[in-house]
């Protein structure tokens, strides 16, 4: 129970500025990156016309997301945004699943990870909008339908980032707190494995998919 709300940190002093780094998040993010690389290596090793199980999984993921991106963005932008969307989903999926293993923690349990990814999606969507529509048209859309609604439109765009990142963070954090509390109450008997299955695997998959889909939708809203 004591582990709820505790964050282990590294504090550096570089040139008079105090840098605080969440050590668990950094380490677990690198573990996740290693796992994704291992998955890629296993899936692409010994490729063949008759796919092995890992190649099958990877092909399914790639094909599925290619279709999703094509449906949302159309043929013209498919090649360009498909790698981003697919990589985002696989990274988040591994992030959310890694907490199922004992002693591991989800990097997405830290608001910094999710907020970083949300801000990344925000800049990509708006950069795309400026590139596709031109700066003038892009700025003009903030003053629609009436010019005095501009602050509302700006707040609406910023609220998207906050809502997308807090959704992922809250789901993973809430799930892990519920697991800790219930495990404490029942002394680790019988119930926690099912909770790990539900919060870790099911909610983790759904939230990773939702985060990816919303990033895709934000990009497609800006393109249209």
């Amino acid at each position: 129970m004591e582990s709820i709300g505790k964050v282990s940190q590294w504090v550096f002093d570089i040139g008079g500025t105090r840098l605080v780094v969440n050590s668990t998040t950094i380490i677990m993010t690198w573990v996740v990156i290693g796992l994704v690389l291992a998955f890629a290596w296993v899936a692409t090793r010994g490729r063949g016309l008759i796919p092995g199980p890992w190649q099958q999984i990877a092909e399914f993921l790639v094909q599925w997301f290619r279709e999703l991106v094509r449906d949302a963005l159309g043929h013209a932008y498919e090649e360009r945004y498909f790698p981003l969307i697919c990589a985002l989903f696989i990274f988040l999926l591994f992030c959310n699943w890694v907490g199922v293993f004992p002693g591991m923690e989800e990097p997405t349990k830290d608001i910094n990870t999710t907020l970083g990814l949300g801000v990344m999606g925000f800049f990509i969507a708006h950069g795309t909008a400026i590139k596709v529509k031109g700066l003038k048209q892009y700025l003009k859309e903030y003053f629609e339908p009436m010019f005095f609604l501009m602050p509302l439109n700006v707040v609406g765009e910023i609220a998207k980032v906050i809502s997308i990142s807090f959704r992922l963070f809250g789901n993973i954090m809430g799930g892990s707190i519920i697991i800790i509390v219930v495990t404490h109450l029942v002394y680790g008997l019988l119930l926690p494995p099912f909770l790990y299955g539900f919060f870790g695997l099911f909610v983790g998959t759904v939230q990773a998919f939702v985060f990816t889909m919303l990033t895709l939708v934000y990009i497609s809203v800006q393109i249209r």
């Binding site: 959704r167 963070f169 809250g170 789901n171 809430g174 998919f209």
Partner: protein
């Protein structure tokens, strides 16, 4: 025997109470909304069982988005418990 309750204790108690109220009222809306979404999805699948996969996917995404207000209240409750 009177028990002294100082200002910090009252703040702590109010934070705990606020967390409970935030979670209780905040979970009400998303629960209602997600139930309606699931019911409508069941109706649609009953009418058109061939599209069950697409409908389930859309339903899950819609529910996860509708859930966000509940998640906000969870974050607020966590802040009240651990930060205040």
């Amino acid at each position: 025997m009177a028990v002294e309750i100082s200002g910090a204790d009252i703040v702590r108690a109010a934070a705990m109470l606020g967390a409970g109220i935030a979670m209780g009222i905040g979970a009400f809306g998303p629960g209602l909304g997600e139930g309606i979404v699931a019911g409508k999805a069941c109706e649609a699948i009953g009418r058109n069982p061939r599209e069950a996969g697409l409908l389930t996917r859309t339903m899950l995404v819609g529910q996860a988005v509708a859930e966000s207000t509940g998640i906000y209240s969870l974050v607020v409750a966590l802040l009240l418990i651990f930060v205040v």
